[in-house]
Symmetry: D2
Subunit: 337 residues, 4 copies
C-alpha cells in the first residue's frame, strides 16, 4: 500500500517511521507547507516531498493518506481525501467545532468507512488487552471505570490558546477511552481546577475531574492534570462484579533500587505520549492498513471522533455551569447546513 | 485510666481487647441492654457487666466511656457522659440527623474537648504517614485526592434500611478522609449508581462517585461500591506538584505465586474493616487515652463528626438533584432549638 | 498455663509480652542472674522475680519454661526443666557444640517431646503459608529453594567472639528453613566472604553463599550478609515444576512515593528480626502452649535444633576446606558419653 | 555498512530484521547451506542469497559479517572473515572446545578487535542500566551478585546431545553476566541436579546452582533450571554496601487482575529469549555497527567469549568432582598448537 503523509511534524515523523518499517506499506509522498519540512522527512525514507498538500489528493499512486496536520485542516483534508478515493487515517480531534465535525460527517456520508480516527490508546497493548478480557466477560460487565491521566508539564501558552481547552485537547483521549470501554455516554459532569496562576488569565483549566454516566449505568471517572512530577501518568482500571483489570504506569526499564532510605524504587514514568504509546502508534497504523486492505470499516471511526468531541463540549459546558450535561446527539444529515 | 464500654457487639469487642491489652487502661464495666451480651464480653476481661447503660454514667470509678452502641443512641450517651464528667470516644457517625448533631454540639458546648469521634482511618499507619509526609511538604500542597473505597459485599437489607443511606453509612469515612487531608470542603457533587437490582426498590444506592471541592482549590474524588470481588478495596492517593503519595491494598501475607497462567499473584485484599484497620483501632484508643491523660482536646473532634455528616447530607442531596451542593454550615448555638 | 521465663533480655521481653497478652497463659516468674533485670520485667506484668534460676525448676506452680538465656546455659536448663517435669520452649541454638547437643538429646530421651526449639521463622505467616501451600502440592515437589537473608548491620565485635561464627549464629535460621521446606540434607557446600576489614582479624566471615543438597534431590541456596543498607533482607522462594511461591521483604507501611526522580518507592525494609518477626514470636508461643496443653510433641523439636547445628558445623567445615561436607548423623544414644 | 549474514535460522532472522530496520546498515547477502533457507530470508529484505558460505568472504561489497551458524562452524568462519578483512559479530559460544577457542584467539591475533561476541544480555536496557549505575558507584562495589535464570522448557533431546551440556549451552550467558559485573573469576563451584528422568540417561544436567568467586572477593550465585512454569525466568540482583539494584521478570503487558481468589496477578513471564531480549539484539547490532564504524574494539570481545567458555568448563568439572575449580588461564600464543 502506497501511503502519503500530510504534516511533517513530531507525529508525522512517528507515522513515517512506522510506514517505512512495515513490509506492507511504502511511504511515497510527504506534504507540508512549511518550507523544507516535508523534504527533510521524505529524504530519510526515500519518499517524494511537496509543499502543496493538494498534490497528495491528485496523485493516483497514493492509496491512503495519513493526516498529521494542525487540527484546523483536518476536516477539509478528510473530505478532499475521500473525494479523491483515498483511505484516511487522521489524528484526533476531528475538529475543535462540533458543527464543523457534523458537516464533515454529512459530507463524507457512506465514505466514512474509509476514514479512521487516530485514537492511539485503543491500540496500546495493555489497554487493548483489558478491553479484550473485559469484553470476554472476565470481570463481568464493567460498572466503574477509573482513568488517571496527567501530562508531565503544561504545553506552552501559545499552544494552549489554539488548543480548544483542556477537554478538547487533552481529556478527549480519556473521553474516547470511556466510550471504548463503556459505549454510549448520556451525562457528563465536570469539576474543573485552575491551579497554576498562569491559567488564571485564561478561560482554560489545568486540572479537572470529569464523571461520565454510560447508558449501561456504568460510571467513568477521569482525573486530569496538566502536570505530574513523576512523568506521564497513565492509569486505567475497569471494575466489574467479578474483579478489576488495571494498567499501571510504565518506566523506562524494570530496574529496582533498594537502598538506605527507600526500597522498591523504579525510575520515573515514561516522559510523555511518544514514549508511552510508541508501540501503539505502530499498531494503529497496522490496523488501518489491514482494514483498508480487507475493505473493512476502520475503527475508531469518524463518528467516534465526532462523539468524543461532543463529550468534550459537554465537559466544557459542565465546567462552566456546574451542572450535568448531556452530549449533543448526532443531527440528522438533512439538518446539517 | 478506668474505662467503661457501652455496646458489646462486634466493634465493642475490638475496643475491649485494646483496653485490656494496654498497660495504661483498665476495662471496668461493660454495658449492653441485650441480655447476656455485656456479661459475655466483660467476663473475658475481668470487668463488671450491666444491662443498664445508666450505670456507666453513675459510676464514679469510670474515667472514660467508649460508645459502641447503635447510632440512634450516640447523642444521648455523649451528652450523659460529658455531664457526668467523663471523657468519651464515640463511634461514627454522631447521628444520622444533622439537626440532632447540631443540638448535641450546642448542648455539649465547651465540653466538646472531652469527646473524640471514632474515625479509625485517621489512625491507620499508612494513611497517617501520608498525612504527616504531605503535611511536611514532601509533595507540595495537595491538589487532587483520590479515594477508592469499596466494601466486599453489601450489608443485609435490614441493616440498609436503618443505615441512613450509603453516604451517611459508608462514604462518611471517605468524607472524613477528604477533610483530614484537604480541610474545609465547599462543594459536593455526586454521581450515584444502583447496580444491584435489590437496590431498585430502595431510595439508597450501592455505588457512587463523589467529588468534593476544598476551599484550597483542591479536589477530592471518592469512588465507592458496596461490593468488590477481591475484598475490602481501600486505596488513597494524595497528588501534589512535587509528587504523589499513595497507599495500596493490603493482603493477608506477602506471599506471591508465579505459575503457568500468571505471575505476581498475591492473596485477595483483607476481607473487611476489622482486618484492614485492626491496628488503627488500637492506635485510635491509644490517642484517646493520651489526649484525656494530658488534658488535650482529642482529635477527630465532635465537630469533625458533625462536618462529615454535613458532607454526607450534601452528597445525598446532590445524588437526588444532580447538582453541586454546599454543605450546611454550623449554625450559631443560639439558632439551635 | 503458668509460665516462667529465664532471661530478661531483649528476647525475654518479647516472650513476656506474648505470655501476658494471651488469655491462655499467665506469667508467674521471671529469672535472671543480672541484678534487677528480672525485677524490672516481672513488675510490668505482675509476675514474681528471682536472680536464682534454680527457683524456676523448684516452683511447682510453674507448668512451662521459656528459656531466653545465653546459649551456653541452654543445655543445662533444658535438662533441669524436663527433669522437673516442665515443658520447655528454648531459643535457638541448642548449643554451639554438637557433642553437647548430642549429650543433651541422650539425657532428655523420651522427654524430648516436652521441648520445643524457638525457630521463629517457621511461624511467620508468609513462610508458614508457603510451607502449607507447597505441602499441598500447589507447585509440585520443591526443586530449588532460594533464601536471601541479610542482617542490617553486623553485631558488636564482643558478640561475634562468643557467637560460634556466622553459620551457627545467623545462618542457622536459614539452615532450619532448608530443613523445614526440603527435609533431610545430605551435603553442604560453602563459599565464604570476608568483606569488612574488621573480620580479617577473626576466623569468622561476614557473608557467605551456602548450598545444600537434600535427600530428595532438591537444592537450597542461602545467601547471607552481615550488612544490608535497606534493612533486614528476608526473602525466600520455593520453586517447583508447577510454579514458585515467594515472600518479599516487608516495609513498615504500604505507602508508595512517585516523585520527580523515581516512582514506586516504599520505605526501607523493616529494620531487624524483632520487627520483621514480631507476629511470628507470638504465633510460636501459641503453638508451644497448644502442644503442651494437648499433650502433643511440639515442633520444631529438640532434634530439629540438633540437626540445624549439625548443618552449621558442616557449613563451617566447608568454608574452611572448600569441599562439600555431609552433616554428622545423630549418634546412637549408647555412643554418647 | 553492508552486512552479510551467515545462517538463516531463528537467530539469523532476528539479525536480518535489525539490519534492515537500521538506517545505517544494508543487508546485502544471506548464506546458508540448507536448500532455500537463505533465499527465503534474503528475499524478504531485498538481499542476495547463496548456499555457499565462502561467497560471503569473497564478496568485496561485504563490510561485516554476522555469524548465526551452528556453533561447530563459528571458529572457521571467524578466522575466514577476519582474514578477508571483514568485521564479525558471532553468536555465543565461540566453540564448545576450549582448545579450539584458544587456537582461534591465537590465529586471529591482533585482528581480535574486529570480532564481537553476541552476548546479547549485556545490551538489555535493564541489565545495562544496572551495570552503568553500579559502575558509577551508586551501591558501592558489588559484593554479591545473584542471577536466577531458568528456561521455560528443556530443548529437544537431539539438541541437548550436541549442546555441550547445560553449562556451555545455557549457563554460559550467566557466566558472562558474572564477568560483566564482577570481572575476573578465580573459582567455580557447582551443585548440579538431574530432576527430569529424561536426563538420567545423559551425562547432562537440567538444573544447577553455580557459585563463582571473583578476584575482587565478590561472589556470584547462578541458579539455573531447564524448565519454569511461569515462563523465561530472568532475574539479576547486584548487592553492594550502599544498596542493591535488581531487575525483575518481564510480562507481555502491564495489565493486573484483582479478583475473588487473588490480587495483583500479571500475565506469565515473557516466554523465551527472543521475546525477553528482542530489544537487546537490536542494541547489540547497533553497538557492533558503531564500533566498526568508529574503528573501536567491539565489546564483548572474542576473549570474553573464550573466558565464558573456560568458566563453563570449570563448572562442568566442578559438577563432576564436587570440588571448587579454577578456570583455565589463557595460554601463551606460543603454547597453542
Amino acid at each position: 500500500m502506497r501511503i502519503a503523509l500530510i504534516g511533517a511534524g513530531r507525529i508525522g515523523a512517528v507515522h513515517a517511521r512506522s510506514v517505512a518499517a512495515s513490509p506492507d506499506t511504502e511511504l511515497v509522498l510527504v506534504a507540508d507547507p512549511v518550507d523544507g519540512a516535508a523534504e527533510r522527512l521524505a529524504s530519510a525514507y526515500g519518499a517524494a516531498a511537496t509543499t502543496d498538500v493538494g498534490d497528495v489528493f491528485a496523485d493516483d499512486a497514493v492509496d491512503a493518506v495519513v493526516v498529521g496536520s494542525p487540527t484546523a485542516y483536518h476536516v477539509e483534508q478528510i473530505v478532499a481525501a475521500v473525494e479523491a478515493g483515498k483511505a484516511v487515517l487522521v489524528e484526533k480531534p476531528v475538529d475543535l467545532d462540533l458543527g464543523r465535525a457534523d458537516r464533515c460527517l454529512a459530507q463524507v456520508g457512506d465514505r466514512a468507512d474509509r476514514v479512521m480516527l487516530g485514537f492511539n490508546r485503543r491500540f496500546d497493548a495493555a489497554l487493548a488487552e483489558i478491553h479484550r478480557r473485559a469484553g470476554a466477560g472476565e470481570i463481568g460487565d464493567i460498572e466503574q471505570l477509573t482513568i488517571i491521566s496527567r501530562d508531565p508539564a503544561p504545553p506552552p501558552v501559545e499552544y494552549l490558546a489554539a488548543s480548544g481547552g483542556i477537554f478538547r485537547d487533552m481529556t478527549i483521549h480519556d473521553l474516547d477511552m470511556a466510550r471504548f470501554f463503556l459505549g454510549d455516554i448520556v451525562a457528563v459532569q465536570t469539576v474543573p481546577q485552575r491551579l497554576d496562576p498562569a491559567f488564571a488569565k485564561t478561560d482554560d483549566f489545568d486540572a479537572a475531574v470529569v464523571t461520565l454516566t454510560a447508558a449501561s449505568g456504568a460510571v467513568a471517572t477521569i482525573i486530569n492534570s496538566r502536570h505530574c512530577a513523576a512523568g506521564y501518568d497513565q492509569r486505567l482500571e475497569a471494575f466489574g462484579p467479578r474483579g478489576a483489570l488495571r494498567v499501571e504506569n510504565h518506566t523506562a526499564t524494570s530496574v529496582v533500587l533498594d537502598a538506605a532510605g527507600s526500597s522498591g524504587a523504579r525510575g520515573p514514568y515514561l516522559d510523555f505520549f511518544l514514549a508511552r504509546y510508541a508501540d501503539a502508534y505502530a499498531s494503529e497504523l497496522a490496523a488501518f492498513v489491514a482494514a483498508v486492505r480487507d475493505g473493512a470499516a476502520p475503527s475508531p471511526s469518524l463518528l467516534d471522533g465526532r462523539q468524543a468531541l461532543a463529550l468534550a463540549d459537554a465537559a466544557t459546558e459542565s465546567a462552566r455551569t456546574g451542572r450535568s450535561v448531556a452530549p449533543a446527539p448526532v443531527p440528522a444529515p438533512s439538518a446539517v447546513v
